[in-house]
């Protein structure tokens, strides 16, 4: 009886399992297989070699990867600092205004990322909204902040803000007010309450928000292209070029595999480090 139930469960989940495997796993497998093909082939029916991976080092693609990871790290760190007070306000202080803020932030997601970034270009470029007005009124111009690493990081922070803000607010909402007050009552300073009570108890939100924004920023492409004017090349840019102009699928696949392994490893590490259950006070 029991075994029949189990079999029925398996059988009824089978169609969906097949769809999921086909749509998620199959493309990954194809990419993984292409990554070990010789350069510039369009078929998997070739003798595998690992030439694409050696190109990663010999032709300097690792620099793009390091730039992408570095900028993702910087933007994640900045997002944590910027979003903490905002998320704290949303979770504990703002009350009804939280809804307004939530809607405002979500609304920004309705506009395509590229269009929003071009908006920033028009705002920040020489002769644009800010510098143009400033020059018209004062007669003195200044250089545009566009086309540098700094503005790319700014773009990443701007675009991925919601992905940090909402998980963080959720995390902070999980910190009971009483524990904060109790720590304060027992003699803790504001900083001690923050580091010893709020940060550890909000850790699931911090981890989820950081992972989301880091993973998205590491694979981001538009910010470096539109705001950065390709001052530095992002790894995602290299991957796109390899698949399109370069007509080199094995190279594009190899670069993708490297990014996937690094980000996937990081995500698994992050999630395993934070014992979500223990923090929530649940027994294993």
């Amino acid at each position: 009886m029991n075994t029949l139930d189990r079999k029925l469960g398996f059988l009824s989940s089978l169609p969906l399992t097949v769809v999921l495997l086909a749509s998620f796993l199959a493309p990954m497998v194809v990419v993984a297989l292409f990554s070990i093909m010789p350069a510039k082939v369009f078929s998997l029916a070739n003798m595998p070699d690992f030439s694409a991976y050696s190109v990663f080092f010999s032709q300097g693609y690792y620099k793009s990867l390091l730039w992408s990871l570095g900028m993702a790290l910087a933007s994640t760190a900045i997002l944590l600092l910027v979003c903490w007070p905002l998320a704290y306000g949303m979770a504990k202080v703002f009350g009804r205004f939280t809804l307004v803020l939530t809607i405002a932030v979500v609304m920004s997601l309705f506009v395509s990322e590229n269009i929003r970034l071009f908006g920033w270009v028009l705002t920040l470029m020489k002769g644009g909204l800010i510098e143009g007005h400033f020059r018209a009124f004062t007669g003195v111009g200044f250089e545009s902040p566009l086309y540098g690493v700094g503005i790319i990081v700014f773009g990443l922070v701007y675009v991925y803000l919601p992905f940090m803000l909402f998980p963080l607010a959720q995390g902070i909402a999980m910190v009971p007010d009483d524990t904060r007050q109790a720590a304060y009552d027992l003699g803790a300073t504001r900083w001690q309450v923050l580091w010893q009570i709020e940060v550890p108890l909000a850790a699931p939100g911090i981890v989820v928000g950081s992972l989301l924004s880091f993973v998205l920023a590491a694979g981001a492409l538009a910010e470096s292209k539109i705001l950065g004017g390709q001052a530095v090349i992002a790894i995602a840019d290299d991957i796109e070029t390899a698949f399109t102009f370069g007509q080199n699928w094995p190279l594009g696949s190899a670069l993708s595999m490297i990014l996937i392994v690094i980000i996937g490893g990081l995500a698994l590490f992050g999630v395993s480090k934070v014992d979500l259950d223990a923090i929530m006070g649940r027994k294993r």
Binding site: A182, A183, L186, A188, L201
Partner: protein, 357 residues
């Protein structure tokens, strides 16, 4: 009074907008006392304790601890601490880390901290191997003890309690009430306890303050509050009670529309000419056998009989409304619902609550 009160409140007022939550509270709490503040929800007792701990500011008035003003001192600098209703244990720390938290903030060295934490586990009768347990592995009663240990590790001048037992089941609550009283005796600390439960207050406290609408109605030892309440509110709040309107003449004679009064019956300690309420607790009311005579008598119909464990409660329908009588189980009455029953009681078991002009 020998020396100064440990904690002195003078004219404490707390307003939230137009609403006055605390309306001029004066109170002295003595060193080593177990003082309980009882009141229904909304009476202002939680507001008061938040002011005392420092989680809210007074609108006006002074709080003095050992003579020094503390009402402007933030909570983390006050030498007092509180056991929360929710206990507010830190779920990401072990039992030991929770207890050591205040010591760690004072940068005491780890070995000394550990020693103190283990002593406190002993004091609270928790096994020492609980030191490494997670909070989530502890039962309700054990958490209660951990919260107490953490507060005691802080070594406060006064330990405040905000209804910490209210979430527990009846039996555990009874056990912990006694343990808390015992702990108070062993530590010699000053405990200030807030509750809405009369029973809790009666079991544990040296003195009880009854709170209503942001003021104290009465502050006294438990027996006095129970036996000689100053107002109808206190009388009714402190358990079952029977109240009868009563007038006294200028010569001390008593008259009532409801009760039959024996010729010559007098109430001592009542100003002649006063009118008010005559109070008698249900356990002092007697079923009047024929031939017995009481200062006050009344008859009615038996309305219901309720078993309260060791005691039986009877409700009688009388011209004065429902009258409650309690008997020990062994003195159970053999009567049926609807039977006519006469009750009586003497002046010495009553208390007169004069009308406040």
């Amino acid at each position: 009074m020998s020396g100064q009160a440990l904690l002195r409140l003078e004219g404490i007022v707390k307003k939230f907008g137009d609403f006055t939550a605390l309306d001029g509270i004066d109170l002295d709490i003595n060193e080593g006392e177990f003082f309980t503040i009882v009141g229904p929800s909304g009476s202002g007792k939680s507001t008061l304790i938040r002011l005392l701990v420092g989680m809210d500011d007074v609108t006006s008035g002074e709080i003095r601890l050992n003579g020094a003003r503390i009402d402007q001192t933030p909570a983390n600098l006050r030498p007092t601490c509180m056991v929360f209703q929710s206990l507010a244990l830190f779920p990401h720390m072990s039992v030991g880390q929770n207890i050591e938290f205040p010591l760690k903030l004072r940068k005491e060295d780890p070995a000394a901290r550990r020693t103190r934490a283990l002593e406190l586990l002993d004091l609270l009768r928790l096994p020492r191997d609980y030191y490494d347990k997670r909070i989530s592995q502890c039962s309700g009663g054990e958490r209660q003890r951990v919260a107490l240990a953490r507060a005691l590790a802080f070594d406060p001048e006064i330990l405040f309690f905000d209804e910490p037992l209210s979430a527990l089941d009846y039996r555990l609550r009874k056990t912990l009430e006694k343990e808390l009283k015992d702990l108070h005796a062993r530590t010699g600390k000053t405990f200030v306890y807030i509750t809405h439960s009369l029973e809790e207050a009666m079991v544990m406290s040296d003195r009880i303050a009854i709170m209503k609408d942001g003021r104290f109605e009465q502050i006294a030892v438990a027996d006095e509050i129970y036996g000689q309440p100053v107002s109808r509110f206190v009388a009714e709040f402190m358990g079952e009670v029977n109240l009868f309107a009563l007038d006294t003449g200028t010569d001390g004679t008593l008259s009532s529309d409801i009760l039959s009064i024996r010729e010559g019956a007098r109430l001592s300690a009542v100003t002649p000419g006063a009118s008010g309420l005559l109070m008698v607790r249900p356990e002092y009311v007697r079923f009047a056998e024929t031939g017995e005579s009481y200062d006050f008598t009344l008859s009615g119909k038996l309305h219901g009989e309720y078993a309260l464990g060791s005691r039986i409660q009877y409700e009688l329908e009388t011209p004065a409304g429902m009258v409650t009588v309690e008997k020990l189980r062994e003195d159970r009455l053999s009567a049926r619902e609807g039977d006519d029953i006469a009750i009586g009681f003497n002046a010495d078991v009553t208390h007169f609550i004069g009308d406040t002009p």
